[in-house]
Symmetry: C2
């Protein structure tokens, strides 16, 4: 069983037929460091599963980047609003390392959700987990100052922080790189 199939089964035990049909739709693609997986303004046609590598999902305003989240091995991502509504994305996704992803077509996943209850359940639970992470993020942004948000980020992402530059972390925490450098060195 592939990592992707294991990932799915942790949410909902897919029956054999559903699993087979899902696997048949999959494609794999590799992006080099710096490559856009999705550009802002494009319509996101896939859900992605990270087999290896690391990506950032971000928005841009006044030439400044704001990072929504990093995704590394064994995580799924998509530009969800664009994916759901099939409209232009406000977010872009770039590979921070050579990254290999498994692609799940939006159209096909939508069909499979209709056809197989177990896939619908998988999708429901996948989105539910995303919602929990977002709630945590919103709460942290409201309650915590930049120092605490940085510290929490380092705890939550301890397995990948050494692969992410200070500048990128600052774009996640929501402050300038200079401010983060200051925070980090004032202990």
């Amino acid at each position: 069983m592939t990592d992707f199939q294991q990932f799915c089964n942790q949410f909902s035990e897919l029956n054999e037929l559903a699993s087979l049909e899902l696997v048949q739709t999959l494609k794999t693609k590799t992006f080099q460091k710096g490559d856009f997986i999705l550009k802002s303004g494009m319509v996101c046609k896939h859900f992605y599963f990270v087999n290896s590598g690391l990506v950032k999902m971000f928005s841009t305003k006044d030439d400044k980047e704001f990072i929504v989240r990093f995704f590394s091995e064994n995580l799924m991502f998509t530009a969800f609003e664009s994916y759901l509504t099939q409209t232009a994305s406000n977010f872009a996704i770039i590979a921070l390392e050579t990254t290999t992803v498994t692609l799940v077509s939006q159209k096909k996943l939508e069909e499979l959700c209709k056809k197989h209850h177990s896939i619908e359940t998988f999708f429901r639970k996948l989105v539910s987990v995303a919602t929990l992470k977002m709630t945590k993020r919103i709460r942290e942004m409201l309650e915590e100052n930049a120092t605490n948000r940085y510290n929490q980020f380092m705890i939550d992402n301890d397995l990948i922080v050494q692969r992410i530059s200070l500048g990128e972390i600052a774009k996640y925490v929501g402050i300038t790189q200079q401010s983060l450098s200051r925070i980090r060195n004032q202990k």
Copy 2:
């Protein structure tokens, strides 16, 4: 058809049996202004639909409140992490006005999701919409300063802002009431 049923059908056309079974599980409850619908530390056992009134969902830290969102007529809410995992909630919910809600039992909705594909679909889409709203919120908190966040709040909630005090809005925007008063009067 009740407002709640109409709400459900806008996400997924529920078949007759599913709709009937869902409706049979419903209860209604009224909370007075200031009442807790859910206290922090309690386990959230329901999804709620607002028939009338207005509630705030918030967390507390160092005696300060941080509002995640307001919910008024024809919206559904729950303390989602607590609801999903049936563990103690980090969030509380209070009625800001006399509020009548329709209650959907977590246990029964979970059963109905298993039994009826169309209810699972409804739930999946409901959670998906919540995810979109949260993404928008995270993006705004990263990109925009307090002035813009306040203005955006007033636009997004134009139908209910006159029912919400300045202090509560400040707890949503993420600044002190004094700062918001200053922002509002510096034009």
